[in-house]
Symmetry: C2
Subunit: 147 residues, 2 copies
């Protein structure tokens, strides 16, 4: 008498595209995190520093909105980045509630290094694919992301 066939639920879950893309994303994340750690930054710090660099003098509330990050967590990240000399908080003369956050030259330098490192990590991530396939993948992911 054979036992009732169990429901292969884990196999089923792990065959779903959402699971697959999650695994690949985790791999890519860990590669980039390891690369960026060479410059002493973690991924959230890098994201904040990059946003500050891109949006010039910017209020913290703007960073919260642009990065969809929690305001409390941003304070800690900015404290760390500021004490590392990568950015500066200055009072905004036009609105004294706001802090004008600006990247320092050292911050820009770190950012450029991290950009190279992150690109190299992405090279590793995509190394199983040739150029055509990489283009396909990026195109498909872009469509999933934009819509």
């Amino acid at each position: 008498m054979t036992p009732p066939e169990p429901f292969r639920a884990l196999e089923h879950i792990q065959s779903l595209p959402s699971w697959l893309v999650g695994r690949v994303a985790a791999h890519g994340r860990s590669l980039v995190a390891a690369a960026v750690a060479e410059e002493g930054l973690k991924l959230p710090h890098l994201a904040v520093l990059a946003a500050v660099s891109e949006y010039g003098p910017v209020a913290q509330a703007d960073l919260v909105r642009r990065l969809s990050i929690d305001a409390k967590d941003l304070v800690g990240l900015l404290n760390h980045l500021e004490s590392a000399g990568l950015l500066v908080r200055a009072p905004d003369p036009r609105d004294r509630r706001k802090n004008a956050v600006t990247v320092t030259p050292q911050g820009t330098h770190t950012l450029r290094r991290c950009a190279e490192l992150a690109e190299r990590a992405n090279e590793d991530l995509l190394s199983p694919l040739d150029d055509t396939e990489r283009g396909q993948l990026i195109a498909l992911l872009t469509r999933l992301h934009q819509t």
Copy 2:
């Protein structure tokens, strides 16, 4: 006098495949999580329940190894699932250190519902793509995952 051109670091980061795949993964994860929440389960609970279903009566240490989950956290997840009546912990007569974890009929039923819901969520995730494109995406992601 134009200000020095800022380094568009955020734009650069967000153009990397690792960032793109991370966003798509986050979207898929939230879709599946929302779907599965209809059955009162969170994703870690579902993963554990599915593994228990798949591997029949299984010791907790085996689940720890198969799911790469922390043993401490597994205890909490099993407590929740057991008090919800979805699985049962029984002493293993052949090794009295072990707990034989087994899915209940109610657990199997919940699992089947979750499988449907997760499939529908994946349908939503992939809705911008046609069948050919979905196959391409899965094939590309599979190669990135397997190597």
